[in-house]
Amino acid sequence: MIVTLRLSTMSPPTSPILSVQPTRGLVDEKLKVVVESLPPGSPVTLHSLHHSEDEDYWEAFGHYVSDFRGMVSVSEDLSFGGTYTGKEDMGLLWSMRPVPGSRKGLRLRKMNVCSPMLHNISVYSGHVSEGFREQTPLTSVLVERWYMAPGVKRIDIMEKGVRGTLFIPPGPGPFPGLLDMWGGGGGLIEYRSALLASHGYVSLAMDYFNSQELESADLEFKYFETAFNIIKEHPQVIPDRVGMFGLSLGSLVTMHVAAESTIVKPRCCICVSGSHFYPRDRTIKEVIMEPRSNSHRLRIDENNHHVWRDMWIHLLDDPSKKVDVGKINCPILLVNGKDDQNVPADECAEDIALLMNAAGNGHLLSRVLYPDTGHLIEPPYSPHFRASNFKAAGVATKTVMLLWGGQTKPHSDAQEDAWRKILSFLQHNLYSSTPPRAKL
């Protein structure tokens, strides 16, 4: 039901004044959205619109009522309805979803990090829930959200068989470094590395799927060690302050290298939404294919979404199918969502804790587990997708709708909290001059 209330005719141009600060900010910075010069006690809708690189439209909106000074302040007032409710200072970003009529299974990801994401923030009269494009807002501003701070350098890497992008913070350095790995979708995803460099870490985003040479597990292992050393040997990197950061499959690689490498010694590891199921002496391709041989364990839910989490659980009982986490000798942070439908993150984290305690290195482990949070725990304020289109890289499978899990509000809260914890973990382990301690 659309409730549209017309504001009484005012002699123009007494239009409301919308201010959004900052108009150019990093994606993990908070926004302050304030509307002034509204008639007192009047219903308005705050709306944000984004046109993605893939040409889809994403929107979010909240229903507000101005106070008796004629003001709405998003960080202080309650939203009464829309894509988010309650006091949510960043709701206009994290609750974004594709506009009605969009293609299905979309996921919002910035591929070109040298340009900002543009959001049109507008004020509409009344409590509007649809048809925003057909109406003229009272006022609007354009906001830029950047993954790269000014002065961060972006360098293409094609070295010793490693393909990736290196991001270097501004300044003389030297800086700590990070090897940054995403999951099974493959590709060269740069935005998290760009953001980490904006926080002072030399960060290498790695593409680890396209190379034809990685046919054996041995060669593949060397590929990760080589990538790590590229960072370590960079003139602007402090060689004994290089860590590893992985999500999903990237987490698995991180744990495996930390446990097994005799050459590479990460200073610390961050594993987001990862499992530790890594059949010894198998390649990553084989790891991805493993569940397919267990397709009887694949579930398809009532929405036709593929649920992969149960395909792995039986591996918990077989030590030869798990990373030997007892050999990890650096601080490691596990970040997981309890509603992860792709990987049994909760059970894995429990098992990892058991194994590490038994091996005597449990003091190195820190874990956070977020309720109602799914698999894709990304930098904060980015939209949540409970399911999206997925095609595994490098293997001949078709695109499916994969269920990631999570409920939007708790998942978004988790992203914000997790990012803060991740940054403080990195600061403590890679920047502090005191010896590293695992516990946050």
Binding site: V141, G151, P172
Partner: protein, 437 residues
């Protein structure tokens, strides 16, 4: 300090801001009581390097907060949150008479803020800083559109704020140096005012015909604004600096076409031949060119050329006929125009005529002629190309840097309030009193 283990952190927020926004500079995790220099470096469009620096001492937890801690020396001293920008000056060895002006407003000014060990005063480029970040300073907010205007043979640029509009409008005029200078108009559009920067001295039509423009040129510019679908036609103001003031006052008082909602005059005068346009005004100024003085540093002082304020009403704008609110901004150390003397005479004329309630004068001690948007460097004197002689000479503008910078900050804030109150409010023109300013 061991470079390898240096954990000093430098943070500047926002890293991308508008030119008139303040920033916070924080140095953290320095050793307690550590002496350091915070340094700013900017390479301008002309390729010259500008720098500023302040000397600080970290507190017991190793923090320096530029907005709260005093600078103990450098190009500025005391607690000066924005000192690193307004005290920028050409690096040693630069050619004399430089002035920092952004001509391409579509890309930001980049300033590198660094921390150096100890209290340094020179040789920054030969050292490696402990940390540095890059900060962008923009004259255009995201979504502001820049529209070159060439119809009616105008040389102008229109800046429209983002959003549906309609917006109030403003004609923006600079002074005797000519050129199409866009940065103040783009900044005003970033504040919600559709602004038209107009070149009226070196415009294409002047280059082609060899003749100065007449008053219709300005009225055409006004009409462009008035008829624009995204501009609210009955909410148009005019802002002029220096020679631009002369045009602004003439149009505000005498134009039948322009119905200005309000006017702002910075560092200007009301002394001019009542009849005639730009050419006549320039001739009038040149009459007494022999009253030009030269300072000890060989800089030209032009303020006496327009003095004394005439009593002959043929040579000053009849301020008693002004019908819209007027904000007059003057620097008391203006060495280029007798803006203070003019302001006093304008006030007297308006008091006698009974319309002085329209006038607000902001008068700044130790401020010079070039009262510009805040946090940009102060030029006490600079190279100026005279239109008459086509020669470049160093002209004294006046002003003492710290006081002038404070004046710029205060004047800009008050100018924005004045424009918003007069161009946005639904009240009738002429009734807004700004005594609270």
């Amino acid at each position: 300090m061991d470079r390898k283990r240096c954990t000093l952190k430098l943070l500047v927020q926002p890293s991308r801001g508008l030119v008139d926004e303040m920033f916070i500079i924080l140095v953290q995790k320095a050793p307690s009581g550590f002496q350091l220099t915070v340094h700013a470096l900017h390479k301008c469009e002309d390729g010259h390097s500008w720098e500023a620096f302040g000397h600080y001492t970290a507190d017991t937890i190793g923090t320096v907060n530029v907005s709260e801690d005093p600078s103990l020396g450098g190009t500025y001293s005391g607690v000066e949150q924005m000192g690193l920008l307004w005290s920028l000056r050409p690096v040693p060895g630069s050619k004399p008479g430089l002035r920092l002006r952004k001509m391409n407003v579509q890309i930001p000014m980049e300033v590198t803020i660094s921390v150096y060990q100890g209290h340094q005063t020179e040789g920054f480029m030969d050292q490696v800083p402990l940390a540095s970040v890059v900060v962008e300073r923009w004259y255009m907010a995201p979504g502001v559109s820049r529209i070159p205007i060439t119809e009616d043979r105008l040389s102008a640029t229109l800046f429209l704020p983002p959003g549906p509009g309609p917006f109030p409008g403003l004609l923006d005029l600079w002074g005797g140096g000519g050129q199409l200078v866009e940065y103040r108009a783009s900044l005003l559009a970033s504040h919600g005012i559709a602004s038209l920067a107009l070149d009226y001295l070196t415009a294409k039509i002047i280059m082609e015909t060899g003749k100065m423009v007449d008053l219709q040129y300005f009225e055409k510019a006004y009409k462009i604004l008035e008829q624009h679908p995204q501009v609210h036609g009955s909410s148009i103001g005019m802002l002029g600096l220096s020679l631009g003031t002369s045009i602004t006052l003439k149009m505000a008082v005498y134009s039948e076409v322009m119905k200005l909602r309000c006017a702002v005059c910075i560092s200007g005068c009301h002394m001019q031949p009542v009849d005639g346009s730009v050419e006549e005004i320039l001739k009038y100024f040149n009459q007494n060119a022999d009253r030009t003085r030269i300072s000890e540093e060989n800089e030209l002082i032009w303020r006496d050329v327009l003095l004394p304020v005439p009593s002959d009403l043929a040579f000053k704008v009849d301020m008693g006929r002004l019908k819209c609110p007027l904000l007059v901004v003057v620097g008391e150390d203006d060495q280029n125009w007798p803006a203070s003397e003019s302001a006093m005479d304008m006030e007297e004329m308006m008091e006698q005529a009974g319309n002085s309630h329209l006038l607000t004068v902001l008068s700044y001690p130790k401020a010079g002629h070039l009262i510009e948007p805040p946090y940009t460097p102060h030029a006490r004197a600079s190279l100026f190309k005279s239109l008459a002689t086509r020669e470049k000479m160093i002209v004294l503008w006046g002003g003492e840097t710290a006081a002038h910078s404070r004046a710029q900050e205060d004047a800009w804030r008050k100018l924005l309030v004045f424009l918003k109150e007069n161009l946005y409010s639904g009240s009738n023109p002429g009734t807004t009193s700004l005594s609270h300013l």
